[in-house]
Amino acid sequence: MKLLNNTFDTIRLFARFTKLNLKITLEYKLDRTLTFFAIFCRESVNVLVIYFILKKFISIKGWEMNEMLFLYSFLFLSYSLFVAFFTGIREFDSVIYSGEFDRLLIRPVGLLTQIICARMDHCAFLGHGAVGLILFIKTSTSVGIQWTPTNILYYIVTLVGAAIIQASLFMLSSCFNFWAIRTTNLRNMIFFNSRRFAGYPISFYPALIQNLLIYVTPFAFVSYFPAQYFLRKPELSLFWDGFLYMTPIVGVAMFALVYMLWKNGLKHYSSSGTSMY
């Protein structure tokens, strides 16, 4: 009952913050609209490059264009979902640097709850979301998927899991901020390069990269395995079947581990600005 109440409170708090954040976004309509279009164009160009290159071939390793784009849509939609809830984690170094984190610490609400609520990057949410949605609508009906209730449930749960995997990666990097180490560039390099790899079926890559994408930065669970659940390409025999269902488990397990590390790092937080003295 208490847990239920807490969850309810969190949702209401999130709604409050979302309303205020939205109000700010609307204050700067033109600026935010342009940012949205910039993100939309940047991501669309990435897709178009793949599109035009792949058009030269009928298929690669048995993957057709629509199937590739369906796989790609997971990346966009899960990133969009990730940004909707974890912008504060993505921008954690600025949350600390601006002193906002000190403020969160003196409020009688859980830290993670506040970080999730506090910031929201509407432009990235809509930009990635729009590209993802277009790809999804274009491909989901043409790759032969039966949208049964089970499949729809799988899709939603997996998408949430995929967003949590990405949140965990960002949160891992944010832990270092507690020791006053800036890892933003290293993180971006690792994150966005892994993500670029994950835009294609991992069977395209040598074993080393495959293993990296499964065990180290588990982007294979963000795009490849979820897509394979629906597409069932014969190459699936290369991997363990169970991987198809692992996305939410990997997400939750990773997040739990990283959250423990994060909680521990909190003890080393040294505040910002004039905090040294």
Binding site: F17, L20, E27, L105, I106, R107, P108, H268, S275, M276
Partner: protein, 333 residues
Amino acid sequence: MAFIKSENLVKEYKINVKKKGLLGAINSLLIPEYKIKKAVDNISFSIEKGEMVGFIGPNGAGKSTTVKMLTGILVPSSGEISIGGLSPYKNRKAVASKIGVVFGQRTQLWWDLPVIDTFDLLKFIYKIPDKEYKKNLDMFSELLEIHKFMNQPVRQLSLGQRMRADIAASMLHNPEMVFFDEPTIGLDVVAKERIREFIKYINAEKGTTMLFTTHDMQDIEKTCNRMIIIDNGTIIYDGSIHEIKHRFGNYRIVEVEFQKEYKNLSFAGVKLINSDGNRKKFKVDQTLMQVTNLINELTQKYEVQDITIQEPEIEQIIRDIYQGGICLDKNVC
């Protein structure tokens, strides 16, 4: 029972010792060398409910670090803190609902939104009952005149307005204890005065315990009875403002304008500190000479046109303490 108790509080920082030059920078990157700096070194004090305490010290003395530990922002390296019986970092949320914090140099208001939006959000965060919220809002609006700019985005407010709104924001939930970190920094005389009046009023009305860190001695003198002075991470004075004046300000400056110029004026316990023709300035040590006696002697023996007596200002005393002119610990001096 004291509301705040701090026992042997220590905060250490590990500082990476930077070496000079490019080679030095590469060297420190590869073989980092650390130095331990104690920002706060064994601080103990307790504050009773309803007290108003000034917490002062020169820049870098350890004030902010101490306040950050008291409010649960930083975890102490060692030592114990209790706020209303709870440890601020172990029971962060419980303590957070009992306290309010005003950072003069940072705002907790949403920069792009009207003040009232932040207030409404705080009502929700602190779960303030409707009645209480409305009562406080009305009271603060009236005392701080917030209603005049309640619906303006914070970025358009003047510093004085913003500070008033910030103070109101941190007191909406009726905190038992409020920490003020330089609440009047950068404000004009009238705005400062208004904030001091408000703070005093709330303390009297609600019995809120308050702790100030500030560099403005007027803030302290006009609002607090007690003062804690800290330097190099340790407490060098903890007592009443009256006492510090009594102990270290036990002298008067007497300025005398004579009818004509006298030479070789000398009295026991009196030092001539300035002489400008007919005008003389004396420093009178009250343990050796009463000011009244001096005045008697002056008026009887000399032709005096005007006399003014000045009390030493607290600011001067504090300046002397910071610069080492006054030694607080008699065992060391």
